[in-house]
C-alpha cells in the first residue's frame, strides 16, 4: 500500500523545474513586475506600429513612454524578428512591424 495523504490522493512527484523554482525562492516580485511591464509596453508599441511606421520619439509621444525605454524594447523586438527598419525621417529611423512595411 502506498502512503496516503490526508486527502487520500498519492502526491505527484515534484518536477525538477518546481524544485529549482522553490530553491530560488520562487519568482521575485520585482521580476514579476518587470515581466508584466514588458508585456504592457510591447502591447502599446505593437498597437502604435499597427498604424504604420514610426520613429522612436513618435512612439514615445503616442505611447507616453520615455524614448530610451521605447528604443530598448523596440530593439528587443527587432532582435527577435518582430520589428524591422522602414526608412529614415530626418535624424531618426522609422520602424515597422515585420510584414507590414
Amino acid at each position: 500500500m502506498g502512503e496516503k495523504t490526508t486527502t487520500g490522493k498519492a502526491e505527484r512527484p515534484r518536477r525538477p523545474i518546481e524544485i529549482l523554482r522553490d530553491r530560488m525562492g520562487g519568482v521575485s516580485k520585482e521580476l514579476q513586475a518587470s515581466v508584466k511591464e514588458q508585456g504592457r509596453i510591447r502591447k502599446l508599441l505593437r498597437g502604435a506600429l499597427a498604424g504604420g511606421p514610426r520613429t522612436v520619439p513618435e512612439l514615445g509621444a503616442e505611447c507616453e513612454l520615455p524614448t530610451t525605454t521605447v528604443l530598448w524594447h523596440l530593439m528587443a523586438m527587432r532582435r527577435y524578428g518582430q520589428v524591422v527598419e522602414a526608412g529614415e525621417a530626418g535624424d531618426y529611423v522609422r520602424y515597422a512591424l515585420k510584414g507590414s512595411e
Binding site: I17, V27, Q38, T68, L71, M75, A76, Y80, Y92
Partner: protein, 440 residues
Amino acid sequence: MPEIRKRYDALVIGGGITGMQAALDLGEQGYDVLLVEKYASIGGIMVGLNKVFPTLDCSSCICTPRMAESAHHSRIQLQTWAEVRQVEPEGDGFVARIEKKPRYVDEDMCIGCSKCELECPVDVPHEFDQGLGARRAIYIPHGNAIPQKAVLDVEHCIFCGKCEKVCPTECIVFDQQPEQVETRVGAVIIATGLDITPMALKPEYGGGRFLNVMNPLAMERVQSSNGPYGRVLRPSDGKIPRRIAYVQCAGSRDRSIGIPYCSRVCCMYSLKQALLLRHYIHDVEVTLYHLDIRAFGKGYEQFYRRTMNEGVRVIKGKVATINEVENNDLVVRVELLDEGGRVDEHRYDMVVLAQGLIPAWHARGVVACDEASDGFLTTPEGKINPSFTTLAGVYVAGVAAGPKDIPDAIVEAGEAAMAVAGRLQRIGWHKAPAVAAAAN
C-alpha cells in the same frame, strides 16, 4: 562535453584572445591544456569589438577562427561557464579546484537551435551588448559564441517551462547543480584580461547618469553590424548622432582616482572609433579632446594622421565637466590647452569616455602570486621574463599583467607558452607521446 580529466600539462585561466593563443601554442607543441573560461563562450572582449586598429580588420573575423581552432584542437579541452577557485602547489605541479556552474542545459544534447530562446518570454539587458540590447532568460551567448549552446540565467527565469516544451532534444536540465572538480597540472597561465575603469570614478563626466555618455565597449557594440541597434544611434532616443565627442584619459593617468598609469590603448581605440564614425555617418562631426596622443605601435602614428586627414577634430584640451541639457544633449566644458587655457563649451549628441583598463580578475585567495599596487599581477623579471609571476610555475600573459593592446597580448601569450613548455620538460611532467608509448 568531455569530463575534466585528472591531469593536464597546463591550465590556462581565461578564454580570451590571450588565453586561446597560449593554449594553441602549447597544444601545437603536443602539450595537453585545460582552458577554463568563466563566461558561457570563449572569445573574451575581442569577439565583441567592431574592428581592430590600425588595420581596421573586422575583429570577430580574426577572433572566431582562433575560437574554432581552440575548440577543435585535439590537445585543448575547453571548459566554459566555470571558474578556477583555487590553485595550490603540490609536488612538482599544482592541484586546481574548478567550479563548473550549472547551465541548466545538457551541453552534449543542445544543438544550438535557439528554439528555447525564441520561446522564452523574458527579455533581459544583454551583457554582451553592454545592456543596450536584449537577450532572453535562456539564450545562446551571441552569434559567434563557441560553444553554440544555450545557458539559462536562473535569476531571470519565471519557471514557465516553455523552453523545456519546445526543445527538440530535451536538453533542458533544471536539476543541474554546481560541480566541484579537481585536476593536477604542471603549470598555469593566467590570462584573465581586462575590465574598464568604472564610470563612477569620474562623476563630473556624468557616466551612468546621463543616457548619452557612453563607455567605449558600448560604442564598439553600437558600431558593430551585429550590435544592439544594427547602426549607430544614441541610447536616449535612437537619434542618428551628428555631433560626437571623445574625452581621453577619462579613467587613466589620474592619481585622484587611484589610477596613475596610462592604459596604452585608449588613444588608439578612440581614434579608430572616431574614424569609423566618419565612415558610418557621412555628415557627423567628431571631436577628440586629449592631453596628448600616445600612438606608439607599428603603424599607429600613421593611423593617427589618417584620422585627422579624414576629418576627425583632435583638440588638446582638458575636459572639466559634462552636463546634460534639453533633449538629453550634452555640454562639454573644456580648457583648451593650446589656447592659453581658454575655457570653452560645446554641445554634443553623444560623448564617449575613453575609460582605462583594470584587471578583470584578482589572484588573492585563489593562487599565491603577488599583485602590484595597481592590481595587475607582479612580474618580477619583467624585462627578461615578462610572463613570470612571483610563484614558480604560474605565468601571466595579456592585460592580467598590465595594460596592452592585442598584438602585444598575443606575443606575451607565446612567450608564456614557451616558458611553460620549458618548465614541463625541466620538471619531467610531460612525457612526449613516443616516450609514453615505449614506457607502456
